[in-house]
Subunit: 225 residues, 2 copies
DNA sequence: TTTCCCTAGATTGCATACAGATTCGTTCGA
DNA sequence: TCGAACGAATCTGTATGCAATCTAGGGAAA
């Protein structure tokens, strides 16, 4: 019955897309345990679909690194250990640092203005304590950095990593005082970018993400409580 | 008949794996043009298989970024423009730099010794002008750097990027004098890592890959001659 | 008792069939 | 003549069936 509810909740897109999202969620939240066998027939029954979409979903999850696949063998839940999670956060810091550094060097005048404007206007969200709105702004802020690097492949890598980390980062802004600190850290990054200081921008971005990582790791370890 | 020959040549793995490799090759070599529609029925006929493996291959190629997919619409060949190619090489430089930097900080004694040993022993390949053997050594050398960074996610990102660039990098060592230069550049990286100089290692690795990129770009533009 | 082999059940890989969506041409009306 | 609407052809999305492969368990031989 759990799976029935799930099918109702997640309604957008094709069956495969729904399954990919649902299973990705189940894997990162620990509903499916690392190493667990994912045989196609059981999954098909569980999601009330045929084996075809199940197979395609497993292939996609394999490409995402969430399940391991070998020919003629059941797919298994990949081991998203805490150490792997840590490596993803570290990678995220490195990637954000690259983006900030390149942004400082390459952003157009318009992009710089837009970045500063959206950053400044987020100040009132901080004062209002508007968590959700600030979270949305935060996502957009970082996207601006990714685009500002003017490198499509790095954009892909950082977006992909971010997507894989998303489930672990949800409660990020619930932490006390995090909003104001986040704004201050953004401020350092923006200032560095505005004056074209690539080194400072990179370092600030690295530190900013690294802090969030620590906070999220704490949450992630709690999630299986 | 072209596709018949292809099926004979590429014999390892499942049908889907064969198709993924074959189509990835056709895309990066320009046999399939960017934007070209990839309808499943034609592909199935062309490769003499049913639509099921075709669909799974397209999904995998989609995850690799080589084809674009939308629901209820034909997959199309993604636009691997020269500018995107350039962005991949730049990303590769950045990632290698990260790996070298982290390797300088984190490699164990054994890893450092192994790196130095394999590097030293490649000297005789340079003198002998053994292109293929040196290419194999080169692959292993870089893999040692990737592993030495002790970050599984970065390892994935760099491996994935490397795989996507592989077709463009094939003729890399045919260029005159490249072998000796490559060895010298490796030497700078190894030396920096041995003395734990993260900054120098990162910079040397960045420069090393950037040089290869230039050479390969030249080749890539020639490929469609 | 241990090891090897063989068989039966279970599971994946692929083919085929059917249902739903999209696209494009044609026809009818203004 | 142009535009809109209808419909048929085409293609994607999903289900089902069959063949190939793998795995586990039991029995025979060393």
């Amino acid at each position: 019955m759990n799976q029935l509810k799930r099918r109702q909740v997640i309604r957008a897109g094709t069956t495969v897309e729904q399954m990919v999202r649902a299973m990705a969620d189940m894997i990162v939240t620990g509903t499916l345990l690392p190493g667990e066998k994912l045989d196609e027939i059981s999954l098909a029954a569980r999601f009330e679909v045929s084996r075809t979409p199940v197979r395609e979903a497993l292939r996609e999850l394999g490409a995402m690194g969430l399940v391991d696949r070998e020919p003629n063998r059941s797919a298994t839940v990949a081991n998203v250990t805490e150490s792997y999670l840590h490596s993803m956060f570290e990678a995220m810091s490195e990637l954000e640092a690259i983006c900030a550094r390149l942004s400082a060097e390459r952003m157009t005048i318009d992009e710089r203005r837009a970045l500063e404007f959206s950053h400044r206007s987020s100040a009132k969200l901080v004062h209002a304590g508007a968590n959700d709105e600030y979270a949305a702004h935060n996502t957009e802020f970082h996207s601006q950095l990714y685009r500002g690097a003017h490198n499509d492949h790095i954009y892909e890598l950082v977006t992909q990593t971010r997507a894989r980390l998303a489930p672990f980062r949800r409660a990020q802004f619930r932490l006390q005082g995090r909003l104001a600190k986040s704004y201050d850290e953004h401020d350092v990054i923006v200032t560095a970018i505005m004056r074209g200081d690539a080194l400072a921008a990179g370092q600030a971005a690295y530190a900013h993400v690294a802090i969030v990582s620590d906070a999220s790791i704490v949450f992630a370890t709690v999630k299986g409580e």
